[in-house]
Structures are given as C-alpha cells and as structure tokens.
C-alpha cells in the first residue's frame, strides 16, 4: 500500500472509532453532559485529562520549538507539567468536594456573588477561544499536508467530527473519545521517537538516548555534538539558550500557574466520584503527560541533528524528498544567496518574514521567494518549526505506516483538546449564564438543549477562526495562560485556603489581574509590536511571563481590599470547612 492510502486508512479508522464511541455514550442529563455523570474511574480520567491537555501545540509544535531554542524550550517542559502538582495538591480535591459542574460555579458560590460568577465566565470564554483557534488551525495543517485536502475543507471535517461527539455526548462522549485519542496520539508520538533514538544513538528509549553518545563513531554525547555543530555554524550552544534568567523563571511560573487555572483542565476532575480520586487522577494525568513530555526534548534534539545533517551544504538538486514536499506546502523555503546551488544553514532570518512565493522557479528548480532580502547573514533556509514532528518520520526515512500514524496522532491531539474547550464554553453559557444567572427557571431539559446549542455555536465560531485565522491568533496564545494565572487561579486558591477572603477582594483581585495582564500583552503583541524588545519590558519580563506579575497583583489587591471590607457571611465559612474535609 502506498503511504497515501495508509494515511487515509489510519485517519479514517481513528475517526470511525471516535464516532462509534460517541454514539455509544450519548448524554441523557445535564449531569452526564457537564461531568459525565460523575462516576469516571480516576485512571481513565487521568488518561482523558492527558488528551484534553495535550493539544496540537504539544504534539506538533513543542518538539520543534525545543529543537530550535534548546535550553529555552525548558519553560514549556517544566511549565506545562509543574501545574499538575499545583492541581493535585492545591485545587483538584477541594473543587471536587465542592461538587458542582463548572469553575464559575465555584467562584460564584464561594464569593456569594453573581458579579463574580460573570467575571469568571468572561475570563473562561476569552481563555478558551484563544486556545481553540490554534487547535482548528492544527487540524487544517495536518489535513492539507497529509491528506491533500484543502485546509478549509480539513477544518470543516474536523468541526463535523467534534460536533458529533461533543454535542451528542457532552462530557460523557468526550471522556471516552479522549481516552481513545490519548492511545492514538501517544502511540503515534512514541513509535517514531523510538526509531529515531535508535537510529542516532543505538538506544531505543528516547529519554536515555538523549543522554547517550551519537552512533557515528565520534564518541561524542548527543548534546555535546549539538553544541559543537551549532557553535560551528554561528549559533549559541544548544544547552545554553538565549533568554534571561528572570524571563525563563517568569514564563515557567506563568505556564505552571496558568495550567492549574485552565477551566477545561479543572473540570476534568469534577468527573471522578470522590475528592481523593481527584488527586489520584491528577497524578495519573501527569504520568500519561510525562510520557510525551520527557520524549519531546529528545525528539527535538534528534530532529535538529538530523535536519542539519540532511540539509546543510547539500545541493538543492539532491535535496531530500520531504524537503520539497514541505516546500510545496509553503512551510520550507530556500533562497540561494551565494549562488552555489547548495543550501547553507546559519543564524538569522534568510529573508524578512514568512515566505511569499513567486510563480516562477529559480536556477536550481527551487520556488522563488519574493520577500525582502535580509543580507546581514548567510542563512539560506526558512523552516517553519511546526513541521519538525510531522516531518521527522520522513527525515529519518521511516516506513509509510509511521507517517500515517503521526497524521492520525496530530489530529487526535487537536480534536481532543478542541472538544474539551468547547465543552467548558458551552457549559459556562448554559449553566452559568442561563441557569444560574439570567434564567433560573429553565428546566433540566431546556438547560441540556441550551448546552447543545451553545456547543454548536461555539464549534461554528471555532471553525470560522480556523478557516480565517486572524493575524493575532498566533500572537496571543500567551493570553490564555497569562490570563488564567492572573485571574482564575488566585480566586480559586484563596477561596479554598483563606476563609477571610470575601466577595469584594476576589472581584477586585480578578479584575486587576485580568486587566493588567491583558493590557501588557495587548500592548506588546497587538498595539505596539515594534516595541516588544527586552529593553522595554517591565523588569525584563516578556509578555509570555507577565501573568506571574498579574497573579501577584491579584493576590495583593484581593488581600488589601478584603482587609478593609466586611468578612464573608457565616455560611461561607461552613462551606469552606466542608470543602477542606474529604468525608461527607
């Protein structure tokens, strides 16, 4: 069978599986729709959480980012796993014990205020939509490269699949499809990783391979060789990185706290039966996530070595086939600056911006790039970092079925996260805005219908964002984590650990954290991108890491305001007492 047939087969089979599961687990009540009935086994929920959490960014982009930034990539590895310790120890068991359906539920009840609930809903919707647009784009990329389907059609097919299991099955359908999606995506990630690790180091376990010697007889360790090769080419050492320490610190912290404050992750822990199951489940989730997260740095390093080996100083006429494949997808480009017909890699941009191709071909048969020149460096090759994981099997000459597996895995990662996000958006509208705030008389049936309509609307909006990605989408992913860290996390944390925290304090804190972070990121990313350099940053902290300062401001303002306003009513004290104890 050709690779193309295999890809259709794998993707088709995985989709059939998701739809089958969705039909088998339709939701019949709001409890099933919001929290899968509340009886999910902690290990199963851990697996579903892992798929929910690991998005197109984790699966497709992360290893590529690490490949090109070396040590700096650590912020994602630590940041996107350390949050689970906070979830397991500080939030999940207590929120489970509280026993409601959504994150705004907790904030609205604990702070005895509809205003607080609505502020939480606004944070939640903003965070979730920022996040979901990226997932839909991921679906489009995979479709267009692997299935030869136009990006837009790919997005629409993706929307259709998510529609079936999110709208029919709610959290119940999502939970069990996410389990299947985890299996697909982890298998798809690990298989090529084993192959490549074995190829480069002779050790098939990537986590060990990255610490081993290269298989080329030089006796050098992988990381040593990378450092040497990169320094030879004028880059900094792989194990060094270029971000300042304070920035690395703050970005890591913002990602960790942001993870712990992301609503679509938190609600997964509402689906287990008991409080102790919630922390157990967070542990399992981290185990399943760590499998991919400890493999990613190895994949990144191997991919970088492989890429340099097979491209640097190679004549374009003899360029490997994957190079030309991805070039025809606009994600790789080459401009022969010195006219020697060979591709030279180096530091700096080969030309300005992302490639815009002219219709004609150059002397060696390459696609001509129309961009403005950047002649201050000798780098001739543009490569979109997102392709490193997707192209890895081709770069390493792996068999066709591995390539097909990666395509199915990328789709699983994007679809599972999109579904989780759609669910929290729809439940915040049907449950928090309608049932709890504006239409309390709505019936159970009416609420369930509203949830399904809201999910449908959210899918349409997400699909629209995927088909017409506004320029700002890629620029503002920092928003999701920064805002979660600066708004939701402190309110939830203090709601559990401080009985004195009151309505006034929590709202003032959330509004302060949210607006400060929003304005800081907005200024440097949207309104004044030309000033986005370290010299202009507050304390040298980039927009990606500023959520930490927003969080500190939130805490400070909340505590100060609470001190000068009246203590919460007695019932709230009892509520907190009840949340803190697992029994009952």
């Amino acid at each position: 069978m050709t690779t193309q047939t295999l890809i259709y087969l794998f993707v088709g089979l995985s989709f059939a599986l998701y739809i089958g599961i969705a039909i088998a687990s339709r939701a019949g009540s709001t409890k099933e729709f919001y929290v899968a009935g509340g009886g999910v086994n902690p290990v199963v929920n851990g697996m579903a959480t892992a798929a929910d959490w690991m998005s197109a960014a984790s699966f497709i982009s992360m290893a590529g980012i690490i490949a090109f930034s070396g040590y700096d990539g650590s912020v994602y590895l630590m940041g996107w796993t350390g949050g689970y310790v906070m979830l397991a120890l500080l939030l999940a068991p207590y929120l489970k014990k509280f026993g409601q359906y959504t994150v705004p539920d907790f904030i609205g009840t604990r702070y005895y205020s509809k205003a607080a609930r609505v502020v939480a809903v606004i944070c939640l919707i903003f965070i979730s939509f920022t996040y979901i647009a990226g997932q839909m784009r991921g679906v489009g990329i995979v479709f267009s490269r692997f299935l030869d389907v136009p990006i837009n059609l790919g997005v629409i097919i993706g929307m259709g699949i998510v529609f079936i299991y999110a709208v029919l099955g709610g959290m119940k359908g999502i939970t069990y499809t996410q389990v299947a999606q985890y299996c697909v995506l982890i298998f798809a990630y690990m298989v090529p990783a084993f192959f490549i690790s074995f190829l480069i180091t002779g050790n098939p376990v990537p986590q060990l391979g990255l610490g081993s010697t290269v298989n080329d007889g030089s006796g050098l360790y992988v990381l040593q060789k990378l450092d040497l090769v990169l320094q030879d080419m004028g880059f900094g050492a792989y194990t060094d990185g270029s971000k300042s320490m304070i920035d690395v610190f703050c970005i890591t912290a913002a990602l960790m706290v942001g993870t712990a404050g992301l609503p679509h992750v938190i609600v997964r822990f509402f689906t287990v039966p008991k409080a102790s199951d919630a922390r157990k489940s967070a542990g399992w989730a981290l185990v399943f996530i760590a499998l991919l997260y400890t493999t990613a740095p190895a994949v990144g390093a191997f991919a970088r070595l492989n890429f340099i080996d097979s491209v640097n100083n190679v004549e374009y006429a003899h360029a490997p086939e994957w190079f030309k494949n991805w070039e025809s997808n606009d994600l790789i480009a080459w401009r022969d600056k010195n006219g020697d017909g060979k591709m030279q890699l180096g530091k700096g941009d080969p030309f300005e911006g992302a490639p815009e191709f002219a219709a004609d071909t150059g002397a060696s048969g390459e696609r001509v790039v129309a961009n403005a020149a950047a002649d201050d460096n000798a780098n001739e090759v543009y490569v979109d970092r997102d392709i490193m994981v997707l192209a890895n099997p081709e770069i390493a000459n792996l068999p066709g079925w591995v390539i097909a597996l990666v395509a199915a895995g990328g789709l699983a990662a994007a679809l599972s996260t999109a579904a989780g996000l759609l669910l929290v958006i729809s439940s915040s509208i049907s449950h928090d805005l309608l049932k709890s705030t504006f239409r309390p008389q709505i019936t159970e049936k009416g609420e369930l219908l509203a949830a399904r309509i809201a999910a449908t609307a959210a899918i349409v909006v997400a699909g629209y964002l995927g088909i017409y990605p506004p320029g700002w989408v890629a620029q503002v992913v920092a928003f999701a984590f920064g805002l979660a860290a600066a708004s939701l996390f402190p309110a939830i944390f203090m709601g559990i650990f401080s009985k004195r925290m009151n309505r006034e304090g929590a709202i003032a804190g959330m509004v302060t954290g949210l607006s400060f972070t929003f304005l800081y990121i907005g200024w440097f990313k949207l309104w004044s991108p030309e000033s986005n350099v370290a010299a202009n940053w507050l304390f040298g902290i980039s927009p990606e890491g500023i959520g930490v300062i927003g969080m500190l401001l939130n805490f400070a303002v909340a505590i100060a305001v609470a001190r000068f306003t009246s203590a919460p009513p007695k019932e709230i004290g009892w509520l907190v007492d009840k949340i803190r104890v697992p029994r009952g």
Partner: protein, 97 residues
Amino acid sequence: MSETSLDTPDKDAETSVTEKAYWSQNIRLLCTLMSIWFLVSFGAGILFRDFLDQFAIGGYPLGFWFAQQGAIYFFILLIIIYNVRMKRIERQYDLDD
C-alpha cells in the same frame, strides 16, 4: 480566624478541633512538598542551573537534565507522596472519603 462561635453545640466544636488538627497537618505537608516542587524546577532547572551544569548524568549536564527531564520525574513523585500521606492522615483523623 476562629469559626467556632460560642453558640455552637459541643459536638460541633469537637469535630472542629479534629478538623483543625487535620487541616494544619495537611498545610504542613503541602508546605514541604511545594518547597521541593520549587527546588527541583525553579531551583535546579533555572536558578542554580549554571552551577549544576558542571556535573553530569550520562551525557546530560545536570542542570539541563533537571530542566528537561528530572523536574518532571520529581513532579510525579511528589503527587504520589501526597496521595499516600494524605490517605494516612485522613484515616488517622477518621475523615477519609
């Protein structure tokens, strides 16, 4: 921040004492584990990375290893320890679920 007001019946006050003792043990455990959480990630992986990089685990400089591998293994360990210890504390105070 005493919640037990004078008019609560004795039985509730008793429960509250148990619950308070349980909660302060929980907080102590949390402080210990969160300190380790901070040390293995922000400490070993970021603040003291340059110092630790003079040592190595196989081909990994030690600080780099913490940042890209070790911290994650420690995170898992921390959650396991918390699960085990909390179960024991909850049983001890007869508050488990």
